[in-house]
């Protein structure tokens, strides 16, 4: 009896510990998400009233028939694929370089240089990049001109706007993926490499068959993080392009935000739900594929 009482009160204090965390999660996480999904089933004009008109899947149908949304979605997916690939390739390459025996001095400096942008407020970083790309102020075109190279269209040209924000985002994010690769590289089993070396494996073979398979955890984590990161691309668009030129950088989250600004709440939240489903679906898929043991 005493024991049961004791364990009950022992449990009770954990509810006290978790209460503030649960309250904040519910108030600013679960509730807004539920609210958002609820609004996606109502007519925009009545969405914020106490008794909104429910319209079933009408908003979803309207969104999926909206050519701007479909174009925006395919651009978002294209941008995500390019960004995930570019960021992980850069981060892995630089991590391998830093981990190798080639760079004995200056290792910390290189690491800090690539990581500093991660903790730099993104608005400040993108503001600077916006002006770096500028045709009349920008250092980039001035440098290209000095080197006798053709001008770079930057943010004002339809052909280069997406590339420009990809570069700015890589600058901001790649350091994060790099340190995860570095952490993984530092805990790998070096005895395996020595064994491979003794067996006469070439540098390339050692990398491909011995080291890379051991980097699987970092690759999976980075892929999932990068997918979530770039599917949600928003700040860089707000700061640098406002979706332009000619909708070239009008990604789903920015488009949804614009609709929300125009009080088209139903469609905006329907888009949010669709993007949410894509984020969850893709991350789970990446996680599943990555978790599977090779050969299974």
């Amino acid at each position: 009896m005493m024991d049961a009482l004791g364990s009950l009160s022992r449990d009770r204090i954990f509810y006290l510990f978790v209460a503030p965390f649960a309250a904040l999660t519910i108030l600013f996480g679960v509730w807004p998400i539920v609210l958002s999904i609820q609004v996606s089933f109502t007519a925009s004009a009545t969405a914020l009233r106490p008794n909104p008109t429910y319209v079933g899947f009408a908003n979803y149908i309207a969104v999926l028939a909206d050519p701007i949304f479909l174009a925006s979605l395919s651009r978002t997916l294209l941008y995500t694929v390019l960004s995930v690939f570019a960021n992980l390739a850069f981060a892995l390459g630089f991590a391998i370089l830093l981990d190798s025996t080639l760079l004995k001095r200056g290792n910390l400096f290189f690491r800090l240089a690539i990581f500093l942008p991660v903790v730099t407020p993104d608005v400040a970083g993108y503001v600077v990049w916006r002006w770096l790309f500028d045709r009349s102020f920008g250092a980039i075109n001035a440098a290209l001109k000095m080197l006798g190279l053709p001008a770079f269209g930057g943010l004002s040209s339809v052909d280069t706007a997406m590339l420009s924000i990809l570069i700015a985002e890589l600058w901001h994010h790649a350091g994060f993926y790099m340190i995860i690769f570095l952490a993984n590289l530092s805990i790998r089993d070096r005895a395996l490499e020595e064994a491979a070396h003794i067996d006469g494996a070439t540098t390339w073979q050692r990398w491909w068959y011995v080291i890379l398979p051991q980097l699987r955890p970092a690759l999976v984590i980075n892929t999932v993080y990068a997918l979530i990161q770039f599917l949600k691309t928003f700040t860089v668009v707000v700061v640098m392009t406002k979706g332009g030129p000619n909708d070239q950088t009008n990604f789903v989250s920015y488009y949804a935000y614009q609709l929300f600004d125009q009080a088209r709440y139903g469609e905006a939240t329907a888009m949010a739900t669709i993007l949410f489903a894509i984020v969850i679906g893709l991350s789970l898929t990446a996680y599943r594929i990555g978790d599977r043991e090779p050969g299974k």
């Binding site: 965390f21 958002s36 370089l97 025996t101 240089a113 690539i114 500093l116 920008g138 995860i180 989250s253």
Partner: protein, 281 residues
Amino acid sequence: MNDDIRPNRLLQVVAYAVAILTSLLFLYPYWWMLVSAFRPTRAIMSAPLRPWPETLNFQIFSEIGRIGGVNLSTYAVNSLAITTLSTILGVIVTALGAYALVRRPKAPGFTLVRYGFLITIMYPYMLLVIPVYLVMFKLGLLGSYAGIILFLALGPLQFFLFEQFFRKIPNEVIEAAVIDGASEWQILTRVVLPMAMPITATVALITFLLNWAQWFPIMVISRSPDTYTLPVALLSMNSELGSNFQGIMALAVLTTLPVAALFLLAQKRVMEGMAAGAVKG
């Protein structure tokens, strides 16, 4: 064959060239921002690549003394206050929450809290902020510091770092305290907290850096620029037409400098903490 162990000279030169060039390219935006903050807009237009300012003139920082009808010092104080308070609150709430979820994973309702949190961090952040506006309105927190600080308190990295740490505490340590007759409160304050000091410092540091950079929730929850922080002020200055280029760069410097300095002082802790928090996720 030999170059597997002792890399040859040429390869080393190439490696250094690549590393140095990439690092300088990554650092160049900072240098350009800093130099541009000290150069009149017209001078930058005529020579954007000049590597140092014509004169070292701090005039611009008094010229941007008022932005959008609010004193620059207000934005700076807001940044400091909102970031500090949301960090303290976030660390306490997250540590206690993660601790409870780790110690009693099967207590009724705890799984729900966990899933609620995981779903929240998967939801596209900027699209979550919009319904948060409605919630803030319903709670009467719109335009208040409290609303902003409460919203910024929770973050995924912080939670995972604490969760990972608490999981690693050996069960025997807790069991021993239980057998000695310690209450859960005593176990927390006398056994767990002293062990958790380093991780708490790491989480506090990372939370500070992340929350300093926040802008969208602050902009959405605010009713006027009175509660804006430096990044939000910078964004609204950047969006103005016929913008004051030198002023923008000066404000970007002010926004970046404090966190860049903090990071450089504690770089090891920050980088290790961020990697650890992510690997758990």
